[in-house]
């Protein structure tokens, strides 16, 4: 079937094309400028393609740039972020699943109240907890460490992951749990063998949500980390804001792209499950 190219349709495509360019322009600027020498940018050619292609800014941002006291590049901070995000996401997802399981399949008196209180956590602004959290981390001996950051993100993430899993499991047939009970499975066996293997879609939703939020978090990273435990976002800020010497825009662009790549990667890999996951949760719930 072919649609005749009427005036209206041509202008529609034109408009859509314009929006595409509009939204892709920042990405273009970042990529193009991260691949050219600094003097090409400072001479006013920010929109032009590099005339002298180079990977030097990427190398510099990754391993040579002055971020903290030493010229380490962003590499150690990238590692910090990974070491923070992966356990935080895993722990939060698992605990959310466990909470959802208990709140839907092992109902007890006051469970809705508890769920309400957990939900309440979704609406607490980050800034409010900064000082009490700093005190708590201090008491736990976790201040300024990566495990401390993991702890903070787990606490903040549990509200969301519990919400996701509770709503997903609410639509999960309770008869399966009853059948497993009669088959002789206990609390954790049912969770591990019956519930978890059937939680794929919602787990993907949860992981994407948590990964993006935790990776991109700046406030907690800036507040609760030390020089050696700073996550990527804070390091990027330090790289860009450093007041010594010339502003190396090409290195900054390369660093910013590096900071954005992991979330982009997660979206591309899990993105199609993301949409599917949202659908499964909503249609049945």
């Amino acid at each position: 079937m072919s649609i005749p190219l009427s005036f209206g349709r041509i202008s529609l495509y034109l408009l859509l094309g314009l929006f595409c360019i509009y939204y892709l322009l920042p990405l273009y600027v970042m990529v193009a400028n991260s691949l050219k020498p600094l003097d090409e940018i400072t001479s006013g050619g920010m929109m032009a393609l590099p005339s002298d292609w180079t990977l030097a800014p990427w190398r510099s941002a990754w391993s040579e740039a002055q971020v903290g006291v030493e010229a380490t590049g962003l590499r150690p901070y990238f590692t910090n972020s990974l070491v923070m995000v992966v356990p935080a996401v895993m722990i939060t997802t698992l605990m959310g699943a466990l909470n959802g399981y208990v709140l839907t399949k092992w109902r007890f008196r006051g469970d809705t109240l508890i769920f309400g209180l957990i939900l309440f956590g979704c609406f607490i602004p980050f800034q409010i907890v900064l000082i009490p959290m700093a005190r708590t981390l201090g008491l736990l001996g976790l201040s300024g460490t990566v495990p401390g950051l993991v702890f903070v993100h787990v606490i903040y993430g549990i509200s969301f992951s519990t919400l996701y899993f509770r709503n997903y499991y609410a639509a999960f047939p309770t008869e399966l749990v009853r059948a497993a009970e009669i088959d002789g499975a206990g609390f954790f066996t049912i969770f591990r063998r019956i519930l978890l293997p059937n939680s794929g879609p919602i787990a993907v939703v949860c992981v994407i949500w948590l990964f993006t939020n935790i990776w991109n978090d700046f406030l907690f990273g800036a507040s609760f980390s030390d020089f050696d435990s700073q996550p990527m976002t804070v390091a990027l800020n330090n790289l860009v804001q450093s007041s010594t010497g010339v502003k190396e825009y090409n290195v900054h662009f390369a660093g910013a792209i590096m900071a954005a790549l992991p979330t982009l990667f997660v979206y591309v890999v899990a993105g199609r499950f993301f949409v599917r996951g949202l659908m499964t949760g909503s249609v049945k719930g």
Binding site: P173, E175, L176, R178, E181, I182, D183, G184, N198
Partner: protein, 370 residues
Amino acid sequence: MGFLDIDNVTKSYGSVQVLNSTQIEVEEGEFLVLVGPSGCGKSTLLNMIAGLEKVSDGEIRINGTRVNEVRPADRNIAMVFQSYALYPNMTVRGNISFGMEMHGVPKPEREAKIAEVAELLQITHLLDRKPGQLSGGQRQRVAMGRALTRYPDVFLFDEPLSNLDAKLRVDMRTEIKKLHQKLGTTIVYVTHDQIEALTLSTRIAVMFGGDVQQLGTPQEIYDNPANMFVAGFMGSPAMNLLPARLLRQDGVMCAGLKLADGSEVLLPFPRAEGLDRYAGREIVLGIRPEAMTDPEGADRDSPALAQVDLPVDVVEPAGSDTFVTVSLGGRDAIGRFRAHTQARAGHPARFAFDMAKAVAFDPKTEARLA
């Protein structure tokens, strides 16, 4: 004392009592069907036997042992759920073996048992499929297979056939009956379908409003329903429940039924002989459609056959039978005629009432009088 004792068991949620004190003794090898409309407490009772719901009061004993506090897994029961409750992430093999695995049965023994059960239910070729790839009837078989892997004291079925289409339901019904005859295990089976109850059971408990209305063999329940609820619930088409007057005429007890034109037809009603105290009073006459038929189709051995000409309102051919509707006592009464009856709507037809099969109810208490 029976094999499965339900001893004065009640169930209440807060202040709402959903099952009133219930007493049923099930003998070993019996097939007990709990039947009733939704909300009658039958599934609650089954779940309490399974241990999935707590008993509010009373005691459940299996093989003489009190099981009120025993975990479902340790009661030695097996249950088939309405939705089959197959684990979607496991293959058929995994589903069948899960229970044995949980009970610590060693792998070679599990494999042997799976093969045996699969053979019995003809699902050997399905063992490596996931439940999502099976049809409704196949899922049903797998669900039964899962229950069969252990040698349970009691099988519990929770409306196992209600998700199947009509034809498959009849087939599976026969299979379940065969299975019971082969294994001889005690079965408690919940359904809202009175045909399933009549065909499968050795005994039926008809439930309504949290009470067992009647407990008896299918024949007892069908022929002598304890009250008007049981009479109306069991049998299809339902028993005709017709307002009538009891009177003694020429020394014979009769039921008088009003016709549409205001006249009254008198049917001799020998079963009511002992009911002199009700003479002259209103009763409800219960008569099954097959006891109200054409003279040629009537049971000639019946001791109390009464023939009357009545004006026919509606004639409904149904293949094997023809249902003929007349107005009796102000209600539509359905008679079951032979397929090639001459009865035509708007014309009188001759009815043969088998009054030996008719029963009488008290219109106020709804209990059976005779």
